[in-house]
């Protein structure tokens, strides 16, 4: 193991910019940290180099704990975005700097300098000043300088950011070649996905300080686990689909029969969309009809936008304000042969098929605000908590007036207060796997309490809690509550149970939560804990709807204080993510 990070956290003014990142990089591996600006990737790189101190966690280089070792003693090579060459020194002196600091003999220094200049293909530049070189050449020198003291790890912070496209590509090839040649463990930070694909053995995608996913480029592209990665790596249509016995269906008018169809979030890449003249001609899975709205030809591929008709697939991400509910826009890209087989023009009506879809393992697919009147549904839809959750999780929030026959697919949301217990019971009894009870004024919680009524409920509740907590900066506490009078030797078992839950949540879902064990009445303890924090929320795992004590649940929902409650129903809830 060349580089290992263990739960590294860095905060600026109490805001975590690097949040609980654990990562292992093998000897000789080229890892690219990819993320939008402000995602914390540079900070993480600087933390590995020792240029930024971390608040929590550990950093290991070749098995040595260097968390409290200064940058000068970490023996890493670091390449900066703006080269950071010493302008008052010649190229030769720049390269020899690390050796001079180490008091290496002059002859040896000269030999190493020559070797490095040859490596970056800039022989004979020794006596020039950095300012006499082009940007690309300066960055090569910076790489040579960083390698002079034979570091075991090379770290590069957007090394091509300041260069133009052509030189960038050339330098990229050089770096890859050098890295291979030396078998150097390398981490490179970039926001450019093309660069990441071109260089990486593995890509780690960062967003809002978290390392969301880490894996081989093709794996991340074809089988992303999160909404963010699926849309950040390449283009993607995120659609709400329904898992049927014969595969994923998209039409919003799925014939359901008795049960609520299981809603999922599906990734449909633009290049996996098939366009045809009619439903019969579609060779892949038929998705719906649409109208070509825009055609852009860009060299090898053609990019289109197809407006789907009302009964077509529903986008999983929230539409912009004022965008019509029905008829989603589909991004399509087609190769030349495809264009030749079936040429299309703007305004043409087409049948749309999906060759391959990937289902995200996220347990939360969409929210539906359910109320009896339109105004009440609107109020619920626009409540601070629900709209913030929709925005943070990039999740669609629909509305439904009246209950209908069955619970809506996805997660229904009902208002708290009088009548909420009865509304919740109806939803859970009519097929809802999850339910959110929303107070009209509550903001995003800063303190989330997780409790499960039995073991099955716990298995169901933890992934939902993990999915939710990934998107909000809240403290999570798992509360184990046991009867006040219990035999002494049972307590040890409770404790063990609790710790197992915690480690399983961390290992399987990356959810880092505190655990607390209480003895007493469950409802009382939960209400006490909710009241102890201003912005608290409860995630409650329950057994299936036939085994719920409805009177008890009603008491909890309509009792004080009025706080958001997310109920996860064990019988229908998702199990561990499928890959």
């Amino acid at each position: 193991m060349s580089i290992a990070l263990d739960q590294v956290t860095k905060r600026y003014q109490a805001v975590p910019v690097v949040n609980d990142v654990s990562l292992k990089v093998e000897q000789g591996e080229f890892l690219v940290l990819l993320g939008p600006s402000g995602s914390g990737k540079s900070t993480l790189l600087r933390a590995i180099a020792g240029l930024t101190e971390i608040d929590h966690g550990r950093v290991f280089l070749h098995g040595r704990d260097v968390t409290h070792v200064s940058a000068r003693d970490r023996h890493v090579g670091f390449v900066f975005q703006h080269y950071a060459l010493f302008r008052h020194m010649s190229i030769g002196d720049n390269i020899e700097f690390a050796l001079r600091v180490r008091k290496v003999k002059a002859a040896e220094r000269r030999a190493r300098r020559k070797e490095l200049l040859k490596l970056v293909a800039l022989e004979g530049m020794d006596d020039r000043l950095p300012t006499q070189l082009s940007g690309g050449q300066q960055q090569r020198i910076a790489v040579a300088r960083a390698l002079a003291h034979r570091p075991q790890v090379l770290l590069m912070d957007e090394p091509f950011g300041a260069l133009d496209a052509k030189i960038r590509e050339e330098l990229r090839r050089t770096i890859r070649q050098i890295q291979r040649e030396l078998g150097m463990t390398t981490i490179l930070v970039t926001h450019d996905q093309e660069e990441a694909f071109a260089l990486a053995d593995r890509i780690g995608v960062m967003h809002q300080g978290r390392l969301l996913e880490c894996g081989r480029p093709d794996d991340l592209y074809t089988r992303p686990q999160t909404r963010f990665v699926s849309t950040f790596l390449g283009a993607a249509n995120l659609l709400l689909g329904y898992r049927m016995p014969n595969g994923v269906r998209f039409s919003s008018q799925v014939t359901t029969g008795e049960a609520v169809p299981r809603e999922v979030v599906a990734v449909l890449r633009p290049e996996e969309v098939e366009l045809s003249s009619g439903q019969a001609q579609v060779r892949s899975n038929f998705v719906g009809h649409g109208e070509v709205e825009e055609v852009l030809f860009s060299g090898a591929v053609e990019r289109l936008r197809v407006r789907m008709s009302g009964d077509g697939p529903v986008p999983a991400a929230p539409g912009r304000e004022g965008q019509p509910e029905a008829g989603s826009l589909l991004e399509v890209s087609r190769t030349l042969p495809e264009q030749r087989d079936f040429p299309v023009a703007a305004g043409q009506r087409v049948a749309v098929g999906a060759r391959r879809v990937h289902v995200l393992p996220t347990p939360i697919s969409s929210f539906t605000a359910v109320a009896d009147t339109e105004s009440a549904a609107r109020v619920l839809h626009d409540s601070p908590l629900l709209s913030a959750l929709g925005a943070r999780m990039q999740t669609r929030v629909a509305t439904r007036i009246g209950r209908g026959e069955l619970a809506p697919p996805g997660m229904p949301a009902v208002a708290t207060g009088p009548g909420s217990a009865q509304a919740a019971e109806w939803q859970l009894r009519h097929g809802a796997a999850q339910l959110l009870c929303v107070p009209s004024t509550a903001p995003l919680p800063s303190h989330v309490i997780i409790h499960a009524l039995d073991a099955g409920a716990r298995r169901a509740a933890v992934p939902v809690a993990a999915s939710l907590l990934r998107h909000i900066a809240a403290e999570a506490v798992y509360l184990g509550i046991h009867p006040a009078v219990s035999p002494e030797n049972d307590r040890a078992a409770y404790m063990r149970d609790l710790l197992d839950t915690r480690s399983a949540a961390l290992a399987e879902h990356g959810l880092d939560m505190r655990t607390e064990l209480r003895f007493g009445d469950v409802a009382e303890e939960l209400q006490r804990e909710l009241a102890a924090h201003g912005n608290s929320m409860l995630i409650l795992g329950t057994p299936d709807s036939d085994h719920i004590d409805w009177a008890w649940l009603g008491g909890l929902l309509e009792g004080q204080p009025e706080r958001p409650v997310l109920i996860v129903n064990a019988a229908r809830a998702d199990r561990a993510p499928e890959h």
């Binding site: 670091f78 950071a84 008052h88």
Partner: protein
């Protein structure tokens, strides 16, 4: 470069206008009075001229004026750098206030700062009293002159080093750190070379100001002939005695000596800039 000498290199028009103004301004305000000074001196015979210059009282005053100015500028170079460092690199409460305070010696009438210094450092003043207990007397000695010149010269160093420090990239220091350099090495090889030209400029300006300073010094120096009398004061004394020629001769020699010193420093600076090519070898 040569063919473009008189071309218009800037986006602002009016090369002729600006150059004309520059020449007029320099001639009218700077060169003409200086020429008058030389002209006035020329009315002396060589013997008279040398007699005035080599007068022991005058020689003692040169030593004090140039010596104290050099010493004060050197002290300012060190402490001005530290002040600029603190202001640029650290965020602390009252930083803006301190930053504004630096300029105060610029704005204050020099006589005011001189009198204030004299009051504080006089054997009966706050600091003077304590210093007297340790046997050090500042007011009315050459030390007082140095203290006054430090006060006057500090802003020059701080204000010229500050922008250079702001500009000096932090990533250069970080680069040196990842390459294994310790704090001393980073300061000596990375920071100092980057700010040295600015530091030298500040030093030169503080020195130039110190040589010519009059107002703040006369109140604290005590003005004892041969001991604490600076050359500008001697010139004023000669003027008060209507010895215009003598005053002009002393002014002329100050002009020559200052010019030689400043020119020498400029040469060093130019050499330093060219020396960057091979520095660190």
């Amino acid at each position: 470069m040569a063919p473009g000498w008189f071309r218009n290199p800037s986006i602002l028009p009016g090369f002729g206008l600006t150059l004309g103004f520059t020449v007029f301004f320099l001639s009218g305000i700077v060169l003409l009075p200086l020429a008058a000074l030389v002209f006035k001196t020329a009315s002396l015979t060589w013997e008279q001229f040398f007699a005035i210059l080599t007068d022991p009282r005058a020689v003692a005053s040169y030593r004090l004026s140039f010596g104290a100015a050099l010493l004060a500028a050197a002290i300012n170079a060190v402490f001005g750098f530290i002040v600029a460092w603190a202001l640029v690199r650290y965020e602390f409460p009252g930083r803006r206030l301190v930053d504004a305070l630096i300029d105060l010696p610029f704005a204050l009438p020099t006589a005011v700062s001189g009198i204030a210094l004299a009051t504080v450092f006089a054997p009966t003043g706050w600091l003077g009293l304590k210093l007297a207990a340790t046997g050090v007397q500042v007011a009315y000695t050459w030390l007082g002159v140095v203290v006054a010149l430090i006060l006057i010269g500090l802003p020059f160093v701080v204000r010229s080093v500050q922008p250079a420090l702001v500009e000096a990239q932090r990533d250069l220091e970080e680069a040196a750190e990842t390459l294994g350099a310790g704090p001393f090495h980073i300061f000596r090889r990375i920071i100092l070379p980057a700010v040295f030209p600015a530091l030298l400029t500040g030093f030169t300006m503080a020195l130039a100001r110190g040589i010519g300073e009059y107002g703040s010094v006369v109140f604290i120096s005590g003005n004892l002939p041969f001991k604490t009398e600076i050359t500008p004061l001697l010139i004023v004394i000669k003027l008060e005695q209507f010895d215009y020629n003598g005053a002009a001769a002393l002014g002329f020699i100050m002009l020559v000596m200052s010019f030689v010193m400043l020119f020498a420093i400029n040469l060093v600076q130019a050499w330093g800039r060219r020396g960057q090519v091979t520095a660190g070898r």
